[in-house]
């Protein structure tokens, strides 16, 4: 699998050295809070309700077993023995002491891990489908492109002080697991009529209080020209983006104010000046080299006549948690970390070490993280899936909830976050308690429930089948419900159901919604398809009737 070179690691060390000096100046009073804030965020460091939170990038959601062990060591040495896998290919540590940050980051450089640009007003780490390279029908594995683009915008001299944060996602798969059109900029790998590879570019998406779907600004940018195109888009944003209004900093507001056509025209006008600059062409030799680094570590194996072990619990877990692999004889195994009452995505250092050991034994030493805050073993041999399940069961990691309603995505909520207006995790727990019958869960099938504690929308409630947004009303916690958000086949922001519902009644409302779905579903129809066919009215009547 792809690993950082010695030079890349040297760069990480230099970045830590620089940040350490800034930290020392801040602690001695020489660097004021406003400037330090801007600098620390660029190094992934937040001030939270109780302590400092550090966000480490997990590029493209991929970790080696050694990297996962390094994260476990950090959890023990600098935190309270756990970390939190986010929805956007990062891991966060919530109990970090300021004077220890540099040592922590230095410990991670050896494993090729870092926190560069995981926050702040710069290009963030680029996200890709966590199943990149594994599924049928993929146009192209997005990861080598992600990596070249990530490098290019790493401490970019022109674009490191943007009006707001800038998130990029790239999808090369048939279905869009990256939700690219809710990103500031999304790239979709496509082939033109001549079979040449390029990108469709979408700009101005985002969630939050003003959720927007990104507009297409270019239908085909040849692969070799993508860096110059991205520079032009960022240049227009850097120069014209709103800097005067805290709530209008993101590029979506600029695209809305100018209109997508005018924004595209400005980008294109700038791009015509630079697209032929040889310095801005994507390095195709490096691309080929990266393709080799990202090549799959396994080849096809013939298991004709293989007999799967018969076991009731195993078969339920397998149905929900195991997916087919494009390489014959292999499976993709999803592992849920969710336990009742704990934050989705939380993992203890012990769990991380167990997963690292199991990944070495069963998955070529590779682990991936998903936006549903689960762990994926990408290369499990078909004849070893049962043995893996037995091991997972032994360690309490064999929850069969993946792909069911019980695999809820929730932000830390008011229990941990000073921005949150309402709790998230206790609501998730109550929903899980309500739907604790596995037969019922299997009957309902794959249905997303996402719970955000405030409009920052960290749990992406807008793009869930059922989205809950926490808010305050007369000093009490209420939840606004949105239905039928989706990104996989097309991108739609969830529709508001009606007035927000109190914390006390919200789980009843969720159950009502699920029941309307079940009662109206035809065959294997998905939630969004039922919603499109019957409309919002039956859901409204059931919840508010």
């Amino acid at each position: 699998m792809y690993q950082y070179s010695e030079q890349d690691k040297q760069f990480l060390v230099e970045r830590v050295d620089q940040f350490e000096k800034q930290l020392e100046r801040h602690l001695s009073g020489e660097l004021d809070e406003a400037k330090f804030r801007s600098l620390r965020l660029r190094n992934g460091l937040y001030m939270e309700l109780h302590a400092h939170m550090l966000r480490i990038a997990i590029p493209y959601g991929i970790l080696s077993s050694d990297q996962l062990r390094a994260l476990a060591d950090v959890a023990d040495k600098y935190d309270r023995g756990f970390g939190h896998f986010t929805t956007r290919q990062n891991i966060q540590f919530n109990w970090i002491q300021l004077p220890e940050i540099a040592n922590l980051l230095r410990d991670l450089t050896d494993a090729g891990l870092h926190a560069i640009q995981t926050s702040g007003k710069a290009t963030r780490n680029i996200t890709a489908d966590p199943l990149s390279g594994l599924t049928e029908g993929e146009i192209e594995d997005a990861r080598p492109y992600c990596e070249l683009i990530r490098r290019w915008f790493n401490l970019h001299p022109e674009f490191s002080w943007l009006p707001g944060k800038f998130k990029i996602a790239i999808n090369g798969a048939k279905y869009d697991e990256t939700a690219l059109r809710i990103h500031d900029l999304g790239l979709r790998l496509v082939r033109n009529d001549n079979g040449e590879l390029g990108f469709s570019v979408f700009v101005g998406g985002g969630l939050g209080a003003a959720a927007m779907v990104a507009a297409e600004t270019a239908s085909f940018v040849p692969v070799v020209d993508i860096l110059s195109y991205l520079e032009s888009a960022l240049r227009i944003y850097n120069l014209k983006g709103r800097r005067d209004h805290q709530k209008k900093l993101r590029i979506k507001f600029l695209v809305r104010e100018l209109g997508a056509a005018e924004f595209s025209r400005l980008v294109n006008e700038d791009w015509q000046q630079t697209k032929d600059d040889p310095e801005l062409k994507l390095n195709l030799n490096e691309l080929e080299s990266l393709k080799k680094d990202f090549a799959l570590p396994v080849g096809p194996i013939n298991f004709d006549g293989f007999k799967e072990t018969v076991d009731f619990n195993y078969s339920i877990w397998k149905k929900n948690n195991v997916r087919s692999h494009k390489v014959a004889g292999h499976s993709i195994v999803n592992i849920s970390l969710t336990k009742l009452g704990s934050a989705p995505g939380d993992a203890t250092s012990e769990q991380m070490r167990i997963l690292a050991t199991l990944a070495d034994e069963f998955s070529s030493g590779e682990i991936r993280t998903t936006k549903r805050q689960t762990i994926v073993f990408p290369f499990v041999r078909k004849d070893q899936v049962f043995d893996l399940w037995k091991s997972l069961e032994q360690y309490g990691l064999s929850s069969p909830h993946q792909g069911t309603l019980a695999q809820i995505v929730a932000c830390p909520g008011r229990d941990y976050c000073d921005l949150a207006k309402a709790v998230s995790i206790p609501i998730a727990t109550r929903v899980q308690e309500r739907f604790n019958d596995m037969n019922k869960l299997l009957d309902i099938g794959d249905l997303n429930i996402n719970i955000s504690g405030c409009e920052n929308s960290c749990a992406h409630h807008h793009i869930a089948d059922i989205g809950l947004l926490g808010m305050q009303k007369n000093g009490e916690e209420y939840y606004q419900i949105t239905l039928a958000g989706e990104t996989l086949r097309e991108t739609n922001i969830g529709k508001k159901l009606g007035p927000s519902v109190s914390g006390e009644l919200i789980v009843d409302a969720v159950e009502d919604i699920v029941n309307v779905y079940i009662d109206n579903r035809q065959d294997e129809e998905r939630f969004t398809d039922v919603f499109k066919r019957i409309g919002i009215k039956p859901f409204k009547e059931k919840v508010y009737g």
């Binding site: 760069f11 674009f159 490096e286």
Partner: protein, 146 residues
Amino acid sequence: MDEIKNPISLINKDYETINLVTFEEWLEDSEQLSKLGVGVILDPSNDVGLIKDSLDVIELIALDFRNFDDGRGYSQAYFLSKRWKFSGEIIGINAHLDQLQFMIRSGITSYQLLESYKGFNEEDYSNGFSICYQAAANNKGLNLQY
């Protein structure tokens, strides 16, 4: 115009004093001012494209980096230096120590730090990295990784 009101001056690399005019003053009377050999001071909000055609008669351009989080000056520097190959000096004024590396790589040819940074060793901040990952106006001394 035969003299500049309330002149602000900068010392250029040849230790000459150059008088500066604001962007608006320049646009108002560029013909006369160009004869005096002045520099132009740009605010981050100024459209640098408006002086593109007179770059050959401007001695020096000063870009203001006072606001720590305002990155527009880096794009202004890019246009002047890389895109339009401005041959005069581009001075980053009201500069911040922690941004020197970005300013230099964007094409700033010299800088004037804010008063509050007096006493710091600038070298510590302008030479922090040995590697860069992208083409830029000035990648001198860096190991190119792209």
